[in-house]
Symmetry: C4
Subunit: 239 residues, 4 copies
């Protein structure tokens, strides 16, 4: 069942330790088959060097396990909520990567301060509101998805152009057209969080990127007029 997608999701998960994005088992990637309405996700708490493609768990868009011997990631309800409310994404990744976590704990957006950021994220990456007592007491993981979606609505953000969010006090969630691209975005987020931290210690004055530079770098790589890389246009996907 969904053997190809399981393999893709497995490989995307295995990139996390290679890219320095996880300690122990603290990260999970999923990928969705939109036609069948099923997604594949890492099992909970399994060490990366023991993971196999066959360990991946298949879940439907109501959050029910459809196939798999292991428990799915405890963050499965967050993935489910995001797939239901961000209908064009194909993969999701959650990590506790340390620079993104440092901003999340400070409840600060990761601001757009350089072109590395603008190449992947069209705006500041928002720090979604921390959950309140009631949101934590019941349906915690589902509410984690809700605070992200609510933040994108409130700020009028395009989830394809800004494929990441921090959950305040917690950490980053990233997504993309595929599991592999979601992981790519998670690595970019970590890199720009580190760069931004250092820039903000050097100066906090007038360092936000102007809109025209965000436009230039973002659309140099994304959309119909992209000219970075080996294909003349990348109209299918924002990332």
């Amino acid at each position: 069942m969904l053997e190809q997608l399981k393999k893709e999701v497995y490989e995307a998960n295995m990139q996390l330790p290679q890219l320095g994005l996880v300690t122990f088992t603290w990260g999970n990637v999923s990928g969705i088959d939109r036609e069948q309405g099923l997604f594949v996700i890492k099992p909970s708490g399994v060490e990366y060097d023991k993971l196999t493609p066959a360990d991946m768990v298949v879940v439907d868009l109501a959050g029910k396990v459809v196939e798999g011997k292991l428990n799915p990631s405890s963050d499965t309800p967050t993935h489910t909520y995001l797939y239901n409310h961000f209908p064009k994404i194909g993969g999701i990744v959650h990590t506790h990567s340390p620079w993104a976590v440092a901003f999340a704990a400070a409840k600060m957006d990761i601001p757009a301060l350089n072109t590395t950021h603008a190449d992947t994220f069209y705006t500041d990456v928002p720090a979604a509101d921390a959950l309140n007592k009631e949101e934590i007491a019941a349906d915690y993981e589902c509410n984690t998805g809700k605070t992200i979606v609510r933040t994108f609505k409130e700020r009028n953000l395009d989830y394809l152009a800004t494929p990441a969010a921090l959950v305040s006090q917690h950490g980053p969630f990233c997504w993309g057209s595929t599991p592999d691209k979601a992981v790519y975005n998670a690595k970019v987020l970590e890199v720009v969080a580190e760069e931004d931290y250092h820039t903000l210690q050097l100066t906090r004055k007038n360092c936000e990127l102007p809109q025209y530079l965000l436009d230039k770098h973002y659309y140099r790589k994304h959309g119909a007029n992209a000219y970075y890389g080996q294909t003349s246009a990348k109209s299918f996907s924002h990332n």
Copy 2:
């Protein structure tokens, strides 16, 4: 004698360099057999790549060497004191991991600022008082254990729920139900110390976690109602 425990303690010691927690020989792990009242500890000042399971030293709860050709770790009296006063722990680790040391030198607790912390530590990790002149002059290593235990009593902390302490001006001691889990906790402590340092440079306002989020994340992984990982409940051990 205690061959299985020696192997476990050896392997836990060997994780320290792999996890980036030690420079040279600056760390030691021990593990206890509670039935026999004996613990096994790394010998003093031996390089990790020359260590073997047979080099481990067996010590009783009065701190006397029972078996072993090498001197035990110079921190053996600290381990002895902790095993005697924290009766439910099965393993102890001491390192000079650099982020934890940075907080210890500042005599600052490692505050609970994010869910990575709450997943393992139910409260701030306390910086135990630095030893005074008299405590250093005689029985230094034993007094190092005493300041930790005293701090837990004074602050009314549960040593199973907060399985780590800093000794001010010195460094971290961590523990767990097994030597392996003690090392796991030592790595988590180092990761959250690094994250907290950066968060505190971004902001020092209103960044302490609320109690309800500490409750949620800690009990998601620990205790009778835990639901993280592949076992439905983890009632035996807090970590």
Copy 3:
């Protein structure tokens, strides 16, 4: 065509991930054959582990592709402009190395604060002005070269003695007598950016190097009276 130069440029590109200067494909090196007026550059967006010497693209000094199946780096117009206006350089490298980017985003020069800097860079490494809206809207990459060259003119800097610049909000460009030496300079820049960042957090008072120390260290390694290394003088090249 230019097989030897392609090999040199390929090898210089492959040094970038080895030296920790690039994430993913975010960097490019070129090298020029001044007699033929042609330069060789990395193709755009190709992963380093898939790159071969034959993938290198040959470009003339008008910026036109002369040979190659792949698109050249999207930064090719910047390289072209620099080769035309810095006539004695033989290689150029652009990266998004994170410490240099942190300074670029802060629009701050990388100041000469220690002898590591002075061994390679005779002055502060300038942060060239960020491009304005018009400069970004048309001929962006060419204008990136222009702001660098304009900065060197305005500040009366010798591009051989200071073989690097930051482009504000973007990142570093470095150069040298060969592609290999350009990469060497890019690594030095990243190292001194990291050192300077930490020095500036310790103190911002009176830490600029005096001119006589810049003279000493720079000319110990460069020019007719150099005495570092195994050749008695290095009169041919500044680096």
Copy 4:
């Protein structure tokens, strides 16, 4: 000639990149045969992966090359001066390790803030005065040794108990009873520089170690009453 010492010095040099203390060729180790009054030092500017024991250069205490096809390190006059004025040391290492350089550029001592420091360095590690214009213009490298020795005299420091110094605006010099122990001290210095940096960003108040803790940790490892490691006393050497 001095084949065993050449091998020791070679191996000590090769430890520098393994311990993360050097970039490119920016470091050198020497070792002395006190009976013959000759020391062995790394050649200038040779890459570590091309170095062999036979490349080591033999120099006398007047600074003259006695044997060797290659130029000795450009820092040879500094080593010569230190061997002449610190008569009990057996090895010297100079690096541009980045955390120590950050303090040197700030002209700040590396303060004794934790026991990791006190285990190896009995006092703050001093930042020797930067050289003035005249000291740089002539006999620069010899004057680099002089500022170190002068600083130890002025502050009444024991060079065996504090086996390291920073040269302001430049970087660290470390020494020990052997080349290997000098390298060990250089690594400790880099580790405590990193830890101290972070501690000083957390707090600058009341964080200096008290003398009784310096005494305890230093003499736990050094001198007649040392009890760390596998030998009951280490009276021969302070390190």
